[in-house]
Symmetry: C2
Protein backbone atom coordinates (compact mmCIF):
# COMPACT_ATOMS: atom_id res chain seq x y z
CA UNK A 1 0.00 0.00 0.00
CA UNK A 2 2.79 2.38 0.91
CA UNK A 3 4.36 1.13 -2.29
CA UNK A 4 1.48 2.51 -4.28
CA UNK A 5 1.39 5.73 -2.36
CA UNK A 6 5.05 6.49 -2.86
CA UNK A 7 4.96 5.41 -6.47
CA UNK A 8 2.07 7.73 -7.14
CA UNK A 9 3.91 10.60 -5.50
CA UNK A 10 7.03 9.88 -7.52
CA UNK A 11 5.00 9.62 -10.70
CA UNK A 12 3.28 12.92 -10.10
CA UNK A 13 6.35 14.79 -8.93
CA UNK A 14 8.61 13.27 -11.55
CA UNK A 15 11.20 13.15 -8.79
CA UNK A 16 11.99 10.79 -5.96
CA UNK A 17 13.29 13.60 -3.83
CA UNK A 18 10.17 15.74 -4.13
CA UNK A 19 7.98 12.71 -3.66
CA UNK A 20 9.80 11.95 -0.43
CA UNK A 21 9.27 15.49 0.84
CA UNK A 22 5.61 15.39 -0.06
CA UNK A 23 5.02 12.08 1.65
CA UNK A 24 7.13 12.81 4.66
CA UNK A 25 9.63 10.13 3.75
CA UNK A 26 13.22 10.09 2.64
CA UNK A 27 14.54 9.95 -0.88
CA UNK A 28 16.18 6.71 0.03
CA UNK A 29 12.90 5.17 1.05
CA UNK A 30 11.14 6.22 -2.12
CA UNK A 31 13.95 4.86 -4.21
CA UNK A 32 13.77 1.52 -2.43
CA UNK A 33 10.02 1.30 -2.77
CA UNK A 34 10.15 1.95 -6.47
CA UNK A 35 12.94 -0.50 -6.96
CA UNK A 36 10.97 -3.01 -4.95
CA UNK A 37 8.01 -2.71 -7.29
CA UNK A 38 10.22 -2.85 -10.33
CA UNK A 39 11.99 -5.97 -9.15
CA UNK A 40 8.95 -7.76 -7.89
CA UNK A 41 7.17 -7.38 -11.19
CA UNK A 42 10.16 -7.25 -13.49
CA UNK A 43 9.00 -4.00 -15.01
CA UNK A 44 10.86 -0.76 -15.25
CA UNK A 45 8.69 2.08 -13.99
CA UNK A 46 11.00 5.04 -14.38
CA UNK A 47 13.77 5.78 -16.78
CA UNK A 48 16.56 7.39 -14.81
CA UNK A 49 18.19 9.80 -17.17
CA UNK A 50 19.62 13.27 -17.20
CA UNK A 51 18.95 13.87 -13.56
CA UNK A 52 15.25 13.32 -14.08
CA UNK A 53 13.06 10.29 -13.68
CA UNK A 54 10.71 9.71 -16.59
CA UNK A 55 7.77 7.34 -16.28
CA UNK A 56 7.69 4.42 -18.68
CA UNK A 57 4.50 3.35 -20.46
CA UNK A 58 4.09 0.70 -17.77
CA UNK A 59 4.15 3.43 -15.15
CA UNK A 60 1.48 5.37 -16.99
CA UNK A 61 -0.88 2.44 -16.90
CA UNK A 62 0.05 1.40 -13.38
CA UNK A 63 -0.42 4.93 -12.13
CA UNK A 64 -4.06 5.21 -13.09
CA UNK A 65 -4.82 1.87 -11.47
CA UNK A 66 -2.95 2.90 -8.35
CA UNK A 67 -5.15 5.94 -8.03
CA UNK A 68 -8.22 3.76 -8.15
CA UNK A 69 -6.84 1.36 -5.58
CA UNK A 70 -5.79 4.12 -3.21
CA UNK A 71 -9.11 5.85 -3.56
CA UNK A 72 -10.97 2.63 -2.91
CA UNK A 73 -9.03 1.78 0.22
CA UNK A 74 -9.39 5.31 1.45
CA UNK A 75 -13.15 5.26 1.16
CA UNK A 76 -13.22 1.87 2.86
CA UNK A 77 -11.52 3.31 5.92
CA UNK A 78 -13.59 6.45 5.83
CA UNK A 79 -16.80 4.49 5.81
CA UNK A 80 -15.46 2.46 8.70
CA UNK A 81 -14.75 5.59 10.66
CA UNK A 82 -18.35 6.66 10.28
CA UNK A 83 -19.25 3.85 12.64
CA UNK A 84 -16.93 5.02 15.34
CA UNK A 85 -19.47 7.09 17.25
CA UNK A 86 -22.48 5.88 19.15
CA UNK A 87 -22.85 2.64 21.03
CA UNK A 88 -21.87 -0.75 19.76
CA UNK A 89 -23.34 -4.09 20.60
CA UNK A 90 -26.76 -5.58 20.58
CA UNK A 91 -29.87 -5.79 22.63
CA UNK A 92 -33.17 -7.62 22.54
CA UNK A 93 -36.30 -5.70 23.29
CA UNK A 94 -39.83 -7.01 23.70
CA UNK A 95 -42.72 -4.75 22.82
CA UNK A 96 -46.46 -5.04 22.95
CA UNK A 97 -48.30 -4.42 19.68
CA UNK A 98 -49.35 -0.98 20.83
CA UNK A 99 -45.81 0.25 20.48
CA UNK A 100 -45.02 -1.53 17.28
CA UNK A 101 -47.84 -0.03 15.29
CA UNK A 102 -46.62 3.53 15.14
CA UNK A 103 -43.79 4.30 17.51
CA UNK A 104 -41.28 1.62 16.68
CA UNK A 105 -40.41 2.45 13.09
CA UNK A 106 -39.40 6.09 13.60
CA UNK A 107 -37.57 5.12 16.79
CA UNK A 108 -35.58 2.47 14.98
CA UNK A 109 -34.65 4.84 12.19
CA UNK A 110 -33.45 7.50 14.56
CA UNK A 111 -31.61 5.00 16.74
CA UNK A 112 -29.86 3.52 13.74
CA UNK A 113 -28.58 6.92 12.79
CA UNK A 114 -27.30 7.66 16.27
CA UNK A 115 -25.84 4.23 16.89
CA UNK A 116 -25.01 2.76 13.51
CA UNK A 117 -23.07 -0.09 15.03
CA UNK A 118 -25.69 -1.22 17.50
CA UNK A 119 -28.10 -3.98 16.71
CA UNK A 120 -31.58 -4.03 18.20
CA UNK A 121 -33.79 -7.04 17.78
CA UNK A 122 -37.44 -6.46 18.57
CA UNK A 123 -39.91 -9.13 19.59
CA UNK A 124 -43.63 -8.52 19.59
CA UNK A 125 -45.75 -10.37 22.07
CA UNK A 126 -48.30 -9.93 24.81
CA UNK A 127 -47.23 -8.68 28.17
CA UNK A 128 -47.15 -11.94 30.10
CA UNK A 129 -44.97 -13.65 27.52
CA UNK A 130 -42.65 -10.68 27.40
CA UNK A 131 -42.14 -10.58 31.13
CA UNK A 132 -41.39 -14.26 31.16
CA UNK A 133 -38.70 -13.83 28.55
CA UNK A 134 -37.17 -10.94 30.43
CA UNK A 135 -36.86 -13.16 33.47
CA UNK A 136 -35.42 -15.96 31.36
CA UNK A 137 -32.78 -13.55 30.11
CA UNK A 138 -33.95 -13.76 26.50
CA UNK A 139 -34.86 -10.10 26.49
CA UNK A 140 -32.96 -7.21 27.98
CA UNK A 141 -36.07 -5.10 28.30
CA UNK A 142 -39.78 -5.21 27.67
CA UNK A 143 -42.42 -2.53 27.50
CA UNK A 144 -45.78 -3.66 28.82
CA UNK A 145 -48.86 -2.23 30.55
CA UNK A 146 -48.39 -1.26 34.16
CA UNK A 147 -48.26 -4.34 36.34
CA UNK A 148 -47.79 -5.15 40.00
CA UNK A 149 -44.32 -5.52 41.40
CA UNK A 150 -42.79 -8.90 40.93
CA UNK A 151 -39.79 -10.72 42.23
CA UNK A 152 -36.89 -10.78 39.82
CA UNK A 153 -37.81 -7.78 37.69
CA UNK A 154 -37.35 -4.07 37.90
CA UNK A 155 -40.26 -1.95 36.75
CA UNK A 156 -40.10 1.68 35.68
CA UNK A 157 -42.68 4.00 34.19
CA UNK A 158 -42.35 4.36 30.46
CA UNK A 159 -45.19 6.52 29.25
CA UNK A 160 -48.95 6.82 29.33
CA UNK A 161 -51.35 6.80 26.44
CA UNK A 162 -55.10 7.43 26.52
CA UNK A 163 -57.38 4.66 25.45
CA UNK A 164 -59.67 5.56 22.56
CA UNK A 165 -62.81 4.12 21.06
CA UNK A 166 -62.15 2.68 17.62
CA UNK A 167 -65.09 2.08 15.28
CA UNK A 168 -65.62 1.74 11.59
CA UNK A 169 -65.45 5.09 9.82
CA UNK A 170 -68.88 6.54 10.20
CA UNK A 171 -68.49 10.29 9.83
CA UNK A 172 -70.23 10.63 13.15
CA UNK A 173 -69.52 13.59 15.44
CA UNK A 174 -65.78 13.32 16.16
CA UNK A 175 -65.83 14.75 19.65
CA UNK A 176 -65.13 12.86 22.90
CA UNK A 177 -67.34 9.91 23.58
CA UNK A 178 -69.32 10.04 26.82
CA UNK A 179 -69.06 6.65 28.42
CA UNK A 180 -71.68 7.03 31.12
CA UNK A 181 -74.73 5.06 30.10
CA UNK A 182 -73.30 4.30 26.65
CA UNK A 183 -74.48 1.23 24.80
CA UNK A 184 -75.29 -1.31 23.94
CA UNK A 185 -71.92 -1.87 22.16
CA UNK A 186 -70.32 -4.91 20.58
CA UNK A 187 -66.79 -4.93 21.97
CA UNK A 188 -63.67 -6.75 20.79
CA UNK A 189 -61.27 -7.50 23.62
CA UNK A 190 -58.08 -9.47 24.11
CA UNK A 191 -58.31 -12.66 26.09
CA UNK A 192 -59.28 -12.31 29.68
CA UNK A 193 -55.80 -12.91 31.03
CA UNK A 194 -54.64 -9.73 29.38
CA UNK A 195 -53.93 -6.92 31.77
CA UNK A 196 -55.49 -4.27 29.60
CA UNK A 197 -58.64 -6.30 29.02
CA UNK A 198 -59.27 -6.49 32.72
CA UNK A 199 -58.71 -2.79 33.28
CA UNK A 200 -60.96 -1.79 30.43
CA UNK A 201 -63.77 -4.11 31.49
CA UNK A 202 -63.61 -2.74 35.02
CA UNK A 203 -63.71 0.88 33.97
CA UNK A 204 -66.54 0.34 31.52
CA UNK A 205 -68.54 -1.40 34.19
CA UNK A 206 -67.93 1.52 36.53
CA UNK A 207 -69.45 3.86 33.92
CA UNK A 208 -72.45 1.66 33.36
CA UNK A 209 -71.55 1.03 29.77
CA UNK A 210 -73.84 -1.59 28.38
CA UNK A 211 -71.92 -4.27 26.52
CA UNK A 212 -74.07 -6.18 24.07
CA UNK A 213 -71.53 -8.79 23.06
CA UNK A 214 -67.78 -9.39 23.28
CA UNK A 215 -65.32 -11.25 21.11
CA UNK A 216 -61.94 -12.27 22.46
CA UNK A 217 -59.23 -11.77 19.97
CA UNK A 218 -55.50 -11.72 20.59
CA UNK A 219 -54.44 -10.51 17.20
CA UNK A 220 -54.35 -6.80 16.76
CA UNK A 221 -54.38 -7.06 12.98
CA UNK A 222 -57.49 -9.26 13.09
CA UNK A 223 -59.17 -6.92 15.55
CA UNK A 224 -58.71 -3.93 13.33
CA UNK A 225 -59.83 -5.83 10.27
CA UNK A 226 -62.99 -6.95 12.03
CA UNK A 227 -63.81 -3.43 13.12
CA UNK A 228 -63.27 -2.00 9.67
CA UNK A 229 -65.79 -4.46 8.22
CA UNK A 230 -68.55 -4.39 10.86
CA UNK A 231 -70.16 -2.55 13.71
CA UNK A 232 -67.89 -4.14 16.27
CA UNK A 233 -65.75 -1.70 18.15
CA UNK A 234 -62.77 -1.78 20.45
CA UNK A 235 -61.10 0.31 23.08
CA UNK A 236 -57.48 0.58 22.16
CA UNK A 237 -54.46 2.64 23.20
CA UNK A 238 -54.23 5.79 21.15
CA UNK A 239 -50.57 5.03 20.40
CA UNK A 240 -51.75 2.05 18.43
CA UNK A 241 -53.76 4.29 16.15
CA UNK A 242 -51.15 6.99 15.72
CA UNK A 243 -50.19 5.86 12.26
CA UNK A 244 -51.32 6.67 8.77
CA UNK A 245 -51.27 3.02 7.85
CA UNK A 246 -55.02 2.68 8.16
CA UNK A 247 -55.92 5.66 6.02
CA UNK A 248 -59.35 6.80 7.16
CA UNK A 249 -60.77 3.36 7.79
CA UNK A 250 -61.56 4.13 11.42
CA UNK A 251 -63.16 6.62 13.69
CA UNK A 252 -60.95 7.24 16.70
CA UNK A 253 -62.67 9.04 19.56
CA UNK A 254 -61.29 9.99 22.97
CA UNK A 255 -63.22 8.76 25.96
CA UNK A 256 -65.00 10.87 28.54
CA UNK A 257 -63.92 10.36 31.20
CA UNK A 258 -60.54 9.38 29.78
CA UNK A 259 -59.01 5.97 30.47
CA UNK A 260 -55.20 6.13 30.64
CA UNK A 261 -53.01 3.19 29.89
CA UNK A 262 -49.78 3.39 31.82
CA UNK A 263 -46.89 1.60 30.16
CA UNK A 264 -43.81 0.43 32.05
CA UNK A 265 -40.47 -1.07 31.24
CA UNK A 266 -39.54 -4.39 32.70
CA UNK A 267 -35.95 -5.48 33.08
CA UNK A 268 -34.22 -8.23 34.94
CA UNK A 269 -33.54 -7.22 38.52
CA UNK A 270 -30.27 -9.11 38.58
CA UNK A 271 -28.42 -7.57 35.65
CA UNK A 272 -27.92 -3.90 34.97
CA UNK A 273 -29.53 -2.55 31.86
CA UNK A 274 -27.15 -2.41 28.91
CA UNK A 275 -26.38 1.07 27.61
CA UNK A 276 -27.84 0.11 24.26
CA UNK A 277 -31.11 -1.07 25.70
CA UNK A 278 -31.29 2.04 27.78
CA UNK A 279 -30.53 4.32 24.85
CA UNK A 280 -33.06 2.58 22.68
CA UNK A 281 -35.66 2.82 25.41
CA UNK A 282 -35.18 6.57 25.55
CA UNK A 283 -35.47 6.96 21.82
CA UNK A 284 -38.60 4.86 21.83
CA UNK A 285 -40.15 6.92 24.60
CA UNK A 286 -39.40 10.11 22.71
CA UNK A 287 -41.03 8.61 19.68
CA UNK A 288 -44.17 7.76 21.66
CA UNK A 289 -44.40 11.17 23.22
CA UNK A 290 -43.94 12.87 19.90
CA UNK A 291 -46.80 10.88 18.43
CA UNK A 292 -49.10 11.70 21.31
CA UNK A 293 -48.17 15.35 21.24
CA UNK A 294 -48.93 15.45 17.56
CA UNK A 295 -52.51 14.39 18.30
CA UNK A 296 -52.95 16.73 21.25
CA UNK A 297 -51.19 19.93 20.24
CA UNK A 298 -52.32 21.78 23.31
CA UNK A 299 -49.92 19.63 25.31
Amino acid sequence: MRNLQLFVAAYEERSFTLAAVREGATQSGVSQHVRNLEERYGVQLFRREKGKVLPTPAADVFYSHCLQALRASDTAFQRLKQFSFGLAGETSIGLMPTLNAAALAPALMLFRERHPNAHVSVTESYSAALVERVIAGDLDLAVVPAMPEMLGVRIRNFCATPEVMVTRRDSAAPGPLRLAGLGPIKLVLPELANVRAQTVRALLAAQNVEIAETIEMNSMLATLDLISRSDWCAILPELLMATKTYGDAFDVRPLDPPIMLQLVTVASAASSLSPIASAFCNVLRDSCEALLLERHPQG
Copy 2:
Protein backbone atom coordinates in the same frame (compact mmCIF):
# COMPACT_ATOMS: atom_id res chain seq x y z
CA MET B 1 -3.56 -3.97 3.02
CA ARG B 2 -3.00 -7.27 4.81
CA ASN B 3 -5.46 -5.85 7.28
CA LEU B 4 -8.13 -5.75 4.63
CA GLN B 5 -7.24 -9.14 3.28
CA LEU B 6 -7.45 -10.88 6.63
CA PHE B 7 -10.57 -8.99 7.61
CA VAL B 8 -12.27 -10.07 4.42
CA ALA B 9 -11.28 -13.67 5.00
CA ALA B 10 -12.57 -13.52 8.57
CA TYR B 11 -15.79 -11.90 7.43
CA GLU B 12 -16.40 -14.52 4.80
CA GLU B 13 -15.42 -17.47 6.92
CA ARG B 14 -17.16 -16.19 10.02
CA SER B 15 -14.16 -17.56 11.86
CA PHE B 16 -10.69 -16.30 12.62
CA THR B 17 -9.27 -19.79 12.60
CA LEU B 18 -10.60 -20.68 9.17
CA ALA B 19 -9.58 -17.30 7.84
CA ALA B 20 -6.06 -17.93 9.04
CA VAL B 21 -5.93 -21.31 7.33
CA ARG B 22 -7.25 -19.84 4.11
CA GLU B 23 -4.77 -16.99 4.10
CA GLY B 24 -1.82 -19.04 5.21
CA ALA B 25 -1.56 -17.20 8.50
CA THR B 26 -2.15 -18.07 12.11
CA GLN B 27 -5.28 -17.54 14.14
CA SER B 28 -3.26 -15.30 16.37
CA GLY B 29 -2.30 -13.07 13.49
CA VAL B 30 -5.86 -12.73 12.24
CA SER B 31 -7.07 -11.88 15.69
CA GLN B 32 -4.44 -9.20 16.04
CA HIS B 33 -5.20 -7.71 12.67
CA VAL B 34 -8.88 -7.46 13.39
CA ARG B 35 -8.24 -5.98 16.78
CA ASN B 36 -5.86 -3.53 15.17
CA LEU B 37 -8.57 -2.32 12.81
CA GLU B 38 -11.10 -2.16 15.58
CA GLU B 39 -8.84 -0.13 17.82
CA ARG B 40 -7.54 2.17 15.15
CA TYR B 41 -11.02 3.18 14.10
CA GLY B 42 -12.83 2.66 17.37
CA VAL B 43 -15.37 0.40 15.74
CA GLN B 44 -16.27 -3.11 16.68
CA LEU B 45 -16.20 -5.33 13.61
CA PHE B 46 -17.13 -8.68 15.08
CA ARG B 47 -19.24 -9.66 18.01
CA ARG B 48 -17.47 -12.48 19.81
CA GLU B 49 -20.14 -14.66 21.21
CA LYS B 50 -20.95 -18.29 21.66
CA GLY B 51 -17.77 -19.47 20.06
CA LYS B 52 -18.65 -17.71 16.84
CA VAL B 53 -17.71 -14.32 15.48
CA LEU B 54 -20.62 -12.36 14.08
CA PRO B 55 -20.04 -9.34 11.85
CA THR B 56 -21.48 -6.06 13.08
CA PRO B 57 -23.29 -3.64 10.75
CA ALA B 58 -20.02 -1.72 10.48
CA ALA B 59 -18.33 -4.87 9.24
CA ASP B 60 -21.00 -5.37 6.60
CA VAL B 61 -20.39 -1.95 5.15
CA PHE B 62 -16.63 -2.12 5.53
CA TYR B 63 -16.54 -5.51 3.88
CA SER B 64 -18.03 -4.39 0.61
CA HIS B 65 -15.62 -1.49 0.42
CA CYS B 66 -12.72 -3.78 1.22
CA LEU B 67 -13.63 -5.95 -1.71
CA GLN B 68 -13.52 -2.97 -3.99
CA ALA B 69 -10.19 -1.84 -2.63
CA LEU B 70 -8.63 -5.28 -2.86
CA ARG B 71 -9.94 -5.77 -6.35
CA ALA B 72 -8.60 -2.41 -7.42
CA SER B 73 -5.14 -3.02 -6.06
CA ASP B 74 -5.11 -6.49 -7.53
CA THR B 75 -5.89 -5.25 -11.01
CA ALA B 76 -3.25 -2.56 -10.61
CA PHE B 77 -0.59 -5.19 -9.99
CA GLN B 78 -1.92 -7.44 -12.69
CA ARG B 79 -1.78 -4.69 -15.24
CA LEU B 80 1.75 -3.97 -14.11
CA LYS B 81 2.73 -7.57 -14.59
CA GLN B 82 1.55 -7.41 -18.17
CA PHE B 83 4.51 -5.18 -18.86
CA SER B 84 7.00 -7.63 -17.51
CA PHE B 85 7.83 -9.31 -20.82
CA GLY B 86 9.54 -7.82 -23.83
CA LEU B 87 12.25 -5.22 -23.87
CA ALA B 88 12.23 -2.07 -21.82
CA GLY B 89 13.83 1.23 -22.65
CA GLU B 90 13.72 3.64 -25.51
CA THR B 91 15.23 4.23 -28.87
CA SER B 92 15.19 6.92 -31.51
CA ILE B 93 14.81 5.88 -35.10
CA GLY B 94 15.03 8.03 -38.21
CA LEU B 95 13.05 7.03 -41.27
CA MET B 96 12.67 8.34 -44.75
CA PRO B 97 9.12 9.15 -45.87
CA THR B 98 9.00 6.00 -47.97
CA LEU B 99 8.83 3.89 -44.84
CA ASN B 100 6.50 6.11 -42.92
CA ALA B 101 3.74 6.05 -45.48
CA ALA B 102 2.72 2.44 -45.13
CA ALA B 103 5.18 0.31 -43.21
CA LEU B 104 5.60 2.25 -39.99
CA ALA B 105 2.10 2.14 -38.52
CA PRO B 106 1.65 -1.64 -38.55
CA ALA B 107 5.22 -2.08 -37.38
CA LEU B 108 4.63 0.21 -34.43
CA MET B 109 1.44 -1.54 -33.46
CA LEU B 110 3.06 -4.95 -33.52
CA PHE B 111 6.14 -3.73 -31.70
CA ARG B 112 4.05 -2.13 -28.99
CA GLU B 113 2.34 -5.40 -28.39
CA ARG B 114 5.56 -7.33 -28.17
CA HIS B 115 7.41 -4.75 -26.10
CA PRO B 116 4.82 -2.78 -24.20
CA ASN B 117 7.40 -1.10 -22.04
CA ALA B 118 9.67 0.08 -24.81
CA HIS B 119 9.39 3.54 -26.23
CA VAL B 120 10.27 4.23 -29.86
CA SER B 121 10.45 7.75 -31.12
CA VAL B 122 10.43 8.09 -34.88
CA THR B 123 11.79 11.02 -36.82
CA GLU B 124 11.02 11.57 -40.46
CA SER B 125 13.58 13.29 -42.60
CA TYR B 126 15.58 12.97 -45.76
CA SER B 127 18.53 10.68 -45.85
CA ALA B 128 21.34 13.18 -45.45
CA ALA B 129 19.78 14.73 -42.36
CA LEU B 130 19.14 11.32 -40.84
CA VAL B 131 22.70 10.15 -41.29
CA GLU B 132 23.97 13.33 -39.71
CA ARG B 133 21.82 12.78 -36.67
CA VAL B 134 22.95 9.19 -36.36
CA ILE B 135 26.53 10.41 -36.26
CA ALA B 136 25.64 13.08 -33.75
CA GLY B 137 24.15 10.37 -31.55
CA ASP B 138 20.62 11.81 -31.73
CA LEU B 139 19.37 8.71 -33.46
CA ASP B 140 20.19 5.11 -32.72
CA LEU B 141 19.35 4.01 -36.22
CA ALA B 142 18.19 5.37 -39.53
CA VAL B 143 16.82 3.72 -42.63
CA VAL B 144 17.87 5.45 -45.82
CA PRO B 145 18.54 4.61 -49.47
CA ALA B 146 21.74 2.68 -50.12
CA MET B 147 24.73 4.95 -49.76
CA PRO B 148 28.49 4.64 -50.01
CA GLU B 149 30.47 3.60 -46.96
CA MET B 150 31.28 6.38 -44.59
CA LEU B 151 33.56 6.87 -41.65
CA GLY B 152 31.77 6.61 -38.33
CA VAL B 153 28.70 4.69 -39.44
CA ARG B 154 27.86 1.07 -39.93
CA ILE B 155 25.67 0.26 -42.91
CA ARG B 156 23.57 -2.89 -43.39
CA ASN B 157 21.07 -3.88 -46.02
CA PHE B 158 17.53 -3.35 -44.90
CA CYS B 159 15.27 -4.23 -47.81
CA ALA B 160 14.67 -3.42 -51.45
CA THR B 161 11.58 -1.96 -53.03
CA PRO B 162 10.88 -1.47 -56.74
CA GLU B 163 10.34 2.03 -58.00
CA VAL B 164 7.00 2.60 -59.68
CA MET B 165 5.49 5.22 -61.95
CA VAL B 166 2.82 7.21 -60.17
CA THR B 167 0.32 9.21 -62.22
CA ARG B 168 -3.10 10.60 -61.72
CA ARG B 169 -5.76 7.90 -61.96
CA ASP B 170 -6.37 7.48 -65.65
CA SER B 171 -7.77 4.00 -66.07
CA ALA B 172 -5.04 3.37 -68.62
CA ALA B 173 -3.66 -0.10 -69.19
CA PRO B 174 -2.34 -1.14 -65.78
CA GLY B 175 0.52 -3.30 -66.97
CA PRO B 176 4.22 -2.59 -66.61
CA LEU B 177 5.40 0.64 -68.16
CA ARG B 178 8.07 0.27 -70.81
CA LEU B 179 10.64 2.93 -70.16
CA ALA B 180 12.63 2.68 -73.34
CA GLY B 181 11.79 5.70 -75.48
CA LEU B 182 9.01 6.81 -73.15
CA GLY B 183 8.03 10.44 -73.09
CA PRO B 184 7.81 13.26 -73.01
CA ILE B 185 6.84 13.19 -69.32
CA LYS B 186 6.53 15.92 -66.71
CA LEU B 187 8.43 14.55 -63.72
CA VAL B 188 8.38 15.59 -60.07
CA LEU B 189 11.66 14.87 -58.31
CA PRO B 190 13.22 15.57 -54.93
CA GLU B 191 16.03 18.09 -54.82
CA LEU B 192 19.16 17.18 -56.72
CA ALA B 193 21.17 16.34 -53.60
CA ASN B 194 18.81 13.49 -52.89
CA VAL B 195 20.31 10.08 -53.47
CA ARG B 196 17.21 8.65 -55.06
CA ALA B 197 16.80 11.62 -57.38
CA GLN B 198 20.22 11.05 -58.82
CA THR B 199 19.74 7.34 -59.32
CA VAL B 200 16.38 7.78 -60.98
CA ARG B 201 17.64 10.49 -63.33
CA ALA B 202 20.56 8.34 -64.34
CA LEU B 203 18.46 5.27 -65.06
CA LEU B 204 15.87 7.20 -67.03
CA ALA B 205 18.57 8.75 -69.10
CA ALA B 206 19.99 5.33 -69.81
CA GLN B 207 16.60 4.24 -71.16
CA ASN B 208 16.25 7.33 -73.34
CA VAL B 209 13.19 8.52 -71.50
CA GLU B 210 12.32 11.99 -72.66
CA ILE B 211 11.69 14.35 -69.79
CA ALA B 212 9.63 17.32 -70.78
CA GLU B 213 9.85 19.24 -67.53
CA THR B 214 10.86 18.63 -63.91
CA ILE B 215 9.76 20.14 -60.61
CA GLU B 216 11.89 19.75 -57.52
CA MET B 217 9.84 19.08 -54.46
CA ASN B 218 11.02 17.79 -51.15
CA SER B 219 7.66 17.19 -49.61
CA MET B 220 6.11 13.86 -50.33
CA LEU B 221 2.64 15.03 -49.42
CA ALA B 222 2.92 17.94 -51.82
CA THR B 223 4.25 15.69 -54.55
CA LEU B 224 1.31 13.34 -54.30
CA ASP B 225 -1.16 16.18 -54.17
CA LEU B 226 0.32 17.71 -57.28
CA ILE B 227 0.16 14.45 -59.18
CA SER B 228 -3.43 13.82 -58.17
CA ARG B 229 -4.45 17.20 -59.62
CA SER B 230 -2.44 17.31 -62.84
CA ASP B 231 -0.61 15.39 -65.51
CA TRP B 232 2.65 15.56 -63.58
CA CYS B 233 4.04 12.17 -62.63
CA ALA B 234 6.73 10.82 -60.33
CA ILE B 235 8.82 7.74 -59.88
CA LEU B 236 8.46 6.64 -56.32
CA PRO B 237 9.29 3.60 -54.21
CA GLU B 238 6.47 1.11 -54.27
CA LEU B 239 6.55 0.92 -50.46
CA LEU B 240 5.44 4.52 -50.39
CA MET B 241 2.31 3.61 -52.30
CA ALA B 242 1.49 0.44 -50.35
CA THR B 243 -1.26 2.06 -48.37
CA LYS B 244 -4.97 2.53 -48.78
CA THR B 245 -4.70 6.11 -47.65
CA TYR B 246 -4.89 7.43 -51.19
CA GLY B 247 -7.97 5.47 -52.19
CA ASP B 248 -7.78 5.12 -55.98
CA ALA B 249 -6.40 8.58 -56.65
CA PHE B 250 -3.35 7.23 -58.46
CA ASP B 251 -2.24 4.84 -61.12
CA VAL B 252 0.77 2.89 -59.89
CA ARG B 253 2.63 1.01 -62.61
CA PRO B 254 5.75 -1.10 -62.34
CA LEU B 255 8.64 -0.11 -64.57
CA ASP B 256 10.14 -2.15 -67.34
CA PRO B 257 12.96 -2.69 -66.85
CA PRO B 258 12.48 -2.44 -63.10
CA ILE B 259 14.39 0.05 -60.98
CA MET B 260 15.10 -1.26 -57.50
CA LEU B 261 15.65 1.00 -54.54
CA GLN B 262 17.90 -0.61 -52.00
CA LEU B 263 17.36 0.58 -48.46
CA VAL B 264 19.95 0.28 -45.72
CA THR B 265 20.17 0.87 -42.01
CA VAL B 266 22.72 3.30 -40.70
CA ALA B 267 23.97 3.14 -37.15
CA SER B 268 26.84 4.72 -35.31
CA ALA B 269 29.99 2.68 -35.74
CA ALA B 270 31.14 3.45 -32.21
CA SER B 271 28.22 2.20 -30.17
CA SER B 272 26.52 -1.13 -30.42
CA LEU B 273 22.94 -1.15 -31.52
CA SER B 274 20.51 -1.23 -28.60
CA PRO B 275 18.35 -4.35 -28.39
CA ILE B 276 15.27 -2.20 -28.74
CA ALA B 277 16.47 -0.50 -31.89
CA SER B 278 17.45 -3.84 -33.30
CA ALA B 279 14.13 -5.43 -32.42
CA PHE B 280 12.23 -2.55 -33.89
CA CYS B 281 14.31 -2.68 -37.03
CA ASN B 282 13.38 -6.31 -37.52
CA VAL B 283 9.72 -5.66 -37.01
CA LEU B 284 9.86 -2.80 -39.46
CA ARG B 285 11.60 -4.92 -42.06
CA ASP B 286 8.98 -7.61 -41.68
CA SER B 287 6.31 -5.02 -42.15
CA CYS B 288 7.95 -3.79 -45.37
CA GLU B 289 8.34 -7.25 -46.77
CA ALA B 290 4.77 -8.14 -45.94
CA LEU B 291 3.54 -5.09 -47.80
CA LEU B 292 5.62 -5.86 -50.87
CA LEU B 293 4.61 -9.50 -50.85
CA GLU B 294 0.99 -8.45 -50.69
CA ARG B 295 1.43 -6.61 -53.96
CA HIS B 296 3.42 -9.36 -55.67
CA PRO B 297 1.78 -12.55 -54.52
CA GLN B 298 3.98 -14.72 -56.76
CA GLY B 299 6.86 -13.88 -54.41
